[in-house]
Every structure is written in structure tokens, then in C-alpha cells.
Amino acid sequence: MAKFLETLKKYAMLIILVLVYIFFVVMTKGMMFSPLNFNALITQNAYVFILATGMLMCMLTGGNIDLSCGSFVCLMGAIGGILMVVKELPAGTSIFIMLLIGVAYGCLLGFLVAYVNIPPWIATLAGYLAFRGLGTALLSANSKTGSIAPFPQTFLSLFSGKIFETKINELNIVCMAVGVVASIIVVAVNFLNRANRVKKGYEADSMISVIIKSVLSVAVIMLFAYKLAMAGGIPTVLVWVVAIVLIYSFITSKTTLGRYFYTIGGNKEATRLSGVDTKKIMFFAYLNMAVLTVITSYIVIARFQAANAQAGTNYEMDAIAACVVGGVSAYGGSGSVFGMVVGATLIGVINLGMQLMNVDADWQKIVKGIVLLGAVVFDILAAKKNANK
């Protein structure tokens, strides 16, 4: 029983996510459960997953944030528009130039934060103000409407649309096949991990819990695969999101580089005296954030098929909220990519659910605010309870 409660606590956010989802399915009379809304959940929130991954890396180093990323998305949109639409450069060249600009900004920001010791929120507040202004100015200088379009099809198909698109309500075979392969991989990894641990005599989950975990994972994957297959196929952004999430999961949990992000957040001085170049890590956190922001800008342009001045508004807050709801410590040192994904999905589900229920936009903000606060309070109370044990 005690073990059961512990498991319950470990997956508390996940359980809340499921409950909230079911709540919205009921409240929208099943509309939430439709294939199109599965698709919407992913395409609407792809930007949060990618930005929040970068934000997670910043926050791990000690609760540091990047306020400039939303405005940077807007600026990159404007630059992308000028390159691809006004100057008519090829998509590949434009993508590369945008990435270079991102790297340049990341280096500057990383330098300011890591080597000049400017508090991140101030260094990035400057970008928050300046990039929005610069982006808007560039857009209005190059377009009467303040919005640049249309972008070339090669660019759009790289970051939006579907893979092997089929008609809606027609089962997409590729999507189902990918679902099956993913399921097999997940189950194999679960069992191999356990076998490996048992062989080496480490503490391992019981066979039953591995089976339950596998069955649940397969159920979720196949549900998604089926729904997406009925909605026309795998959204292209999902490939980007999954790739980024997997890469960063690996980095944070399995590499020495990732380990240093955690230890710096836990105790920067101890990490420095252990021979780690802590400044380099801080530098990397912000360089990485800028690069992921550029990738976000690609998918945002592609989704709206245009660059406009409102793009990226409040994205930085969405990313921070996803991390915080997902259990990433606001003081640094703890949090995981998995938690962040759950947090981002929870916020996405609440957003979509309220839209479908036609909840007033102001009330949507109020609810999100309460959820954010609730998540943090829950986290802190849980930590306290653990500490008292």
C-alpha cells in the first residue's frame, strides 16, 4: 500500500493530466476526443514543447529564465520573411542564415550571463523589449499590412503539414505503422532495462509494474497513432518535437554535460571546485536556448504560413509555465524533460479544452494562473512532506 501511494505521488502530475483530460472530454461531450483535436493538441503546442526544453536547461542551472525567446521568435519570423519572401532566397539558405543569427545571439547572451555576470532575467528583458520592436519595424518596413507571406512550399512542408497525408477519417497506414514500431521499442526498452538491473542485482521494479507500465504506454501510443491516423497522418512538427524531446532526455539523464546542469543548479561553487567549467555550462545553456528558439520560429512561421508582429507573444511565459507545472524547480537543480512534457501537455489540454467549451478568453487566463500557482504549491508541499519523513 505504501509503495502504491509512492507510485501515485511519483506520477501525480500524470494522473492529474489524465483526470483533467477526461473532465474536458466529458464537458465537451466527446469533442475533445476527436481525431482533429488530437491533431490540434500537438500542432498548437509544438512551440511550447521546444521552447520549454530550452527553458528547462536554463532553469536547471539555478532558476534562470529567458524572457527574450518570445520576442526572438517574432524577430526571426520577420527575418525569415525578408529572406524567403522579399529576397526570395532558397529555403535551405534562409534556414541556415536564421540559425546563424540565432547562434550569434546565443553567444552574446551566453557571454553576458556567464562571463559578465548579468542576471539572466535582466539580460533577456532587454531582448524581450528590443526584438519585438525590431521585428515589428522590419515587418512594417517590408510590408504594408505588417505581415509577410506567402512562404515557399519547401519551407512550409519541412515544418508543418503531415507526413504521407491522407484524407480525414481515412486510416493513415504510415502513422499506424510508426505507432506499432514505437510501441515495440518502448516495451523492449522497459523489459531490457529491468532484465539488466535484475542481472546486476540492483533494485528493480516488479515484473507486474513493468507490465502495467508497458501496457499503459502502448495504449497511449496506439491511441495517439490511431487518432492521428484518422486525422490525416503524423503532423510534421511532431517529428521535430519527439526528436528534440528524446535528444534532451538523453542529454539530461545520461551525459556528463547534462549532469553538470543539475549540479550547478544544486551548488554552483561546489561544481566549480570539482573542476567543472561552470561558466561554459551557463554559456551553453543560453546558446542552446537561442538555437531552440530559432527552431521554434521555423515551426511558428510554418504554422501560420506568415510572419507577423504578434507571433511569439507570451511564448516565454508559456515555456516557463510548462516547466514549473512539470515540476522543474524554480530554484534550479531538479526537474526532468519528462516532467516538462507532462506540464506542457497539461497546459495544452486546458487551453484546448477551454477553447472547445467556449470559455471566455479572460477566464482562460485566470484558470491558467490558478493551475500554475496550484502546481507550485503542490510541489513545495510534497517536498516538505518528504523532508519531514
Partner: protein, 512 residues
């Protein structure tokens, strides 16, 4: 027999799963200095938290009888109103504020709506005089030393009309001279009729000031010794604390040959990183051989930590000059990584502040300084990391249910072992141990000493920085004495006594 001012009767306090205090009894007479001693985690601080109302009435069993009445404190202010004031181990002063502001923090002088600054500062000055401080109360806390800050804390307590003063490890961050001054101040207060309880690990202080000693062990009071009826020795107190006789506080090291010089430092001078003209380390020459324990004794602020950190990859200080030779070869170590690669290790005095990542498990802390040892191409082999952590846990006898335990949950002594494990895993030839036994109990100290002996037996060199004279004398083969940034003496352990080491320091001070 004086009047009993405070009686704590059958106090039992349980935390979920742990009985922190079990039927504790404590009697304090008016006008005495009562020492509370015991190993770390014995329950001394918990007992004082019960007394001061941090754990409110009802959360414990038993009675507190103060001044003849049963007290039911709900919060700290309740006990302070009665004149029970506790001064905690960690100084609770705001560095950017003045002495006066700090002294009346939460107890401001003046009307409800406005602070009367003139009254604040004139009263503050009055209390400062009582503790023998000549500073103006308008000076900022950050501009005075730790010793004086501790006195400000006491003045702050006096300003609250303290009748029973509780001092929790008041000298833990003070040097020998400041500690002595503080203890003398306590004796002075006693003459004026103040009652005090002192919690301390330093038994020589207990012997110096205490009228009575209550020994706490594993959450219960073992005995109360009256210092006036029998002569109390430190060994007698230790016997009570650990429940057995420690015949030798420092384990013998025999048959260790001192070999070639492993590290040599010549004309080493370091300047303060902020105040460019201030020399923190001044022309220091030292060496340490294989299999040798070299002690560096000095008061706090003598520049010992600064010396060690500047050697360790220039992690402290500016404008460092001098030569560093490791195994006869001159090297320049520009950062901690290069120092580690040169088989040098620096085990910090501040294990919580810059030694350990408290929110991470033992496993992660053990491998932190040598991730290359548990990874391949930047990918961590968690199995190997786990095995390494377990190996060191067993080797150093770290008490923990598992290496996945967060270091923050361990006791001071076990944290110190994890810190040592981290540096031993970097495979160093030379270990600089900065105050390796600070704030840990007698039993754990002995184990740390044994680890040091094992290290030198395997041919490593140990430089041990300490401000505890008996420890330096008991553990070192050779001792350097440091004062105001300079080495003012060097002696073999067999020639060293507490008196001639202190004489060295006093003489060097006079020479200026």
C-alpha cells in the same frame, strides 16, 4: 543550591518515524552557566527548539517550568517575552544593514508607524558597550568580522531583556582569541546574574565556563555533572557523550615512512580579489612529502583557506605569484580541472557551501569531480557510478540506507565522508584537507582521522588545515603556523605544544 529557574520535565518529542527526544530532563539554576553537550544528532538543538517555542506547545510531551510556572509557548515571541532568548549557530544578521537596524529587527524602537532612529542608535550603542564593542551602531554588519557579529547577536539578545540566554555553538566560526573573549564575556554576565545555556562541541570551552554539564545522548539526558563538586576533565565528558571511553582521540600511525617531496610551494603570494592592494598570502614556502601529514595551524582569517584555494588551480585570489612544484616538476595550474589532473585535491572547509550538492544523492556527489571515471565519451555509465559510490560508502563506513540518499539528509560527519569520497575518487597524490572535522562529533572525528592515516599509509600526502590545536598536534608529522598571511613558524609534531604554537603567533603579532 540556587533557585531553579528552568526545569524541563520528561520532554518527549517525536517526528514521524523518529523519537528525537525521549524523556529528557533538564534543570537550570538561576545565575549559572549550564553546558549542553552531546554528539551531533543527539537532540540538543531539538531540546532548545522545544524550549523556545519553535516547536509549539502540544507538539511535544512533558512540561516546561520556567520561573515557577508551566509555560505553553506557541511561538518564539512567547518565550522571548518571558526573557528566554536563543542565539542560533548560524548568525541571523542582515549584512547590508547597520548594527543598530539589525539589533532591533522585529523589535523596532519608536511608534507603531514610524521608527525612531535616534532612539534606535543610542540604545544600540548602549548594548554594544555592554558586550564590549566600541563600534558605532551605524556601521554595517558586513563591515565587521564574524567575531564582532557574534557579539552583536548577543547585544541583540540583551536588547530583548534576556534573563535566560541560550547560545547554540557560539564559537563555531570564531578564532581562538575571539572565542576566549566571548567566553570571558559570558563569565562577566554570570557575575551580573544572567543565566545561560551553552551548546558546544568544544569541550575545552565547556570546562572553562560551565558550572554544570548535562550530557545528551541519543535523545535522552545521560547525566548532569556538577563542575564544582568534582574536577571535570574533557575525557570524562567524552565518556558520557559516546558512552565509552575513548582512550586515544587520535589514532596512532606507525611504520609510515616519509618519502620524497610530493608538493613544494615557493614564495607564494596572493592578493585579495577585490581589494587589490591587500596581501592575503605573503611569501609562503612549504612542502609536503609522500606519506606525510603536514598541519597548517592558524587563526581564522590567517589566510589558510586562501592559500589552499590559490594553490588548487587558482580558485581564489588575484595576482598570484610564486612557484608550485609537484613531484619536483614546476607546474602552473590555471583552474581546478588542471589541479585535479595534477593529482591535487582540495577538500573544502565549507562542505555545505562549496563542497557538496545537498539536493543530489551520494552517488552523484561521489563522482562529480571525476566524471571521466564513470563515463565514456560523455555518456555516464550509471551502473559503474553506482558501484563506485557503494565502494566508497563501504570503505569510509558512511552511514546511509543507500547511495541514492540525498546528501542533505545526512549528518555532518557522514557528509564529510561523502566529500572525502568525492576527492579520493579523483585519485589524488596530495590532499589539502581544510578543517576536515569542523562541526562533527567525536566519534565521526575519530573515523576521519583513521581515513587520513590510511591515506598517508598508501603514500599520499596530506596537508591538514585546522584551527583546533589538539587536532593539529595529534595528527601532524610537521606543523606550519600561519598568521596574517605569513608562515610564522614550523615545528615537528614532537616539539609542538599548545603553548609554543600560540607563542609563535603572539610573537609574530608583536613584531609588526
Amino acid at each position: 543550591m540556587g533557585r531553579i529557574l528552568l526545569e524541563m520535565k520528561n520532554i518527549t518529542k517525536t517526528f514521524p518515524g523518529v523519537k528525537a527526544l525521549d524523556n529528557v530532563n533538564l534543570q537550570v539554576e538561576e545565575g549559572e552557566i549550564h553546558a549542553l553537550v552531546g554528539e551531533n544528532g543527539a537532540g540538543k538543538s531539538t531540546l532548545m527548539n522545544v524550549l523556545s517555542g519553535i516547536y509549539p506547545y502540544g507538539s511535544y510531551e512533558g512540561d516546561i517550568i520556567y520561573n515557577g510556572e508551566i509555560c505553553q509557548f506557541q511561538k518564539i515571541t512567547d518565550s522571548e517575552k518571558k526573557g528566554i532568548v536563543i542565539i542560533h549557530q548560524e548568525l541571523a544578521l542582515v549584512p547590508q544593514m547597520s548594527i543598530g537596524e539589525n539589533m532591533f529587527l522585529g523589535n523596532e524602537r519608536g511608534k507603531k508607524s514610524a521608527i525612531n532612529w535616534n532612539e534606535t542608535y543610542s540604545e544600540a550603542d548602549k548594548y554594544l558597550k555592554m558586550v564590549g564593542l566600541s563600534e558605532s551602531s551605524r556601521v554595517l554588519i558586513k563591515d565587521i568580522g564574524t567575531g564582532k557579529q557574534q557579539l552583536v547577536e548577543i547585544a541583540k539578545a540583551l536588547a530583548k531583556n534576556a534573563k535566560l540566554l541560550i547560545l547554540d555553538e557560539p564559537t563555531s566560526s570564531l578564532n581562538e582569541t575571539d572565542s576566549r573573549a566571548l567566553l570571558d564575556l559570558m563569565l562577566e554576565f554570570k557575575k551580573q546574574g544572567m543565566t545561560m545555556i551553552i551548546i558546544t562541541h568544544k569541550l575545552n570551552e565547556v570546562v572553562y565556563v560551565a558550572d554544570k554539564i548535562t550530557v545528551v545522548r541519543d535523545g535522552s539526558t545521560v547525566e548532569t555533572l556538577d563542575c564544582h563538586s568534582i574536577a571535570i576533565s574533557e575525557d570524562r565528558i567524552i565518556r558520557g557523550m559516546v558512552g565509552r571511553e575513548i582512550t586515544d582521540r587520535f589514532p596512532k600511525r606507525s611504520g609510515v615512512e616519509i618519502g620524497d617531496i610530493n608538493m613544494e610551494v615557493d614564495n607564494w603570494t596572493v592578493y585579495h580579489p577585490l581589494y587589490a592592494e591587500r596581501k592575503v598570502v605573503d611569501n609562503v614556502n612549504m612542502n609536503v612529502g609522500a606519506g606525510e601529514v603536514v598541519g597548517i595551524y592558524g587563526l581564522m582569517g590567517a589566510g589558510r583557506t586562501e592559500l589552499a584555494m590559490s594553490i588548487f588551480g587558482r580558485s581564489y585570489g588575484a595576482d598570484i605569484t610564486g612557484t608550485l612544484k609537484i613531484k619536483g616538476e614546476e607546474v602552473t595550474l590555471k583552474n581546478p580541472r588542471e589541479a585535479i589532473n595534477a593529482h591535487l585535491a582540495y577538500v573544502t572547509e565549507d562542505r555545505k557551501g562549496n563542497g557538496l550538492v545537498l539536493s543530489n544523492p551520494i552517488r552523484v556527489n561521489t563522482s562529480l569531480a571525476n566524471m571521466a571515471g564513470v563515463s565514456k565519451n560523455g555518456v555516464i555509465d550509471v551502473d559503474k557510478e553506482y558501484q563506485v559510490a557503494v565502494e566508497y560508502k563501504d570503505k569510509l563506513k558512511t552511514k546511509t540506507p543507500s547511495v541514492e540518499q540525498n546528501v542533505g539528509n545526512l549528518s555532518g560527519g557522514n557528509q564529510q565522508k561523502v566529500l572525502l569520497a568525492k576527492w579520493m575518487f579523483t585519485n589524488p597524490d596530495i590532499l589539502i584537507l581544510d578543517e576536515p572535522t569542523r562541526g562533527i562529533d567525536v566519534g565521526a572525528k575519530y573515523e576521519i582521522y583513521c581515513i587520513i592515516n590510511d591515506l598517508v599509509k598508501s603514500g599520499k600526502s596530506v596537508v591538514m588545515i585546522s584551527s583546533e590545536l589538539p587536532e593539529v598536534i595529534g595528527m601532524s608529522d610537521r606543523i606550519y603556523i600561519m598568521n596574517e598571511g605569513k608562515f610564522v613558524g614550523e615545528m615537528k609534531a614532537e616539539d609542538a605544544t599548545q603553548e609554543n604554537i600560540m607563542a609563535c603567533i603572539l610573537q609574530s603579532g608583536r613584531g609588526e
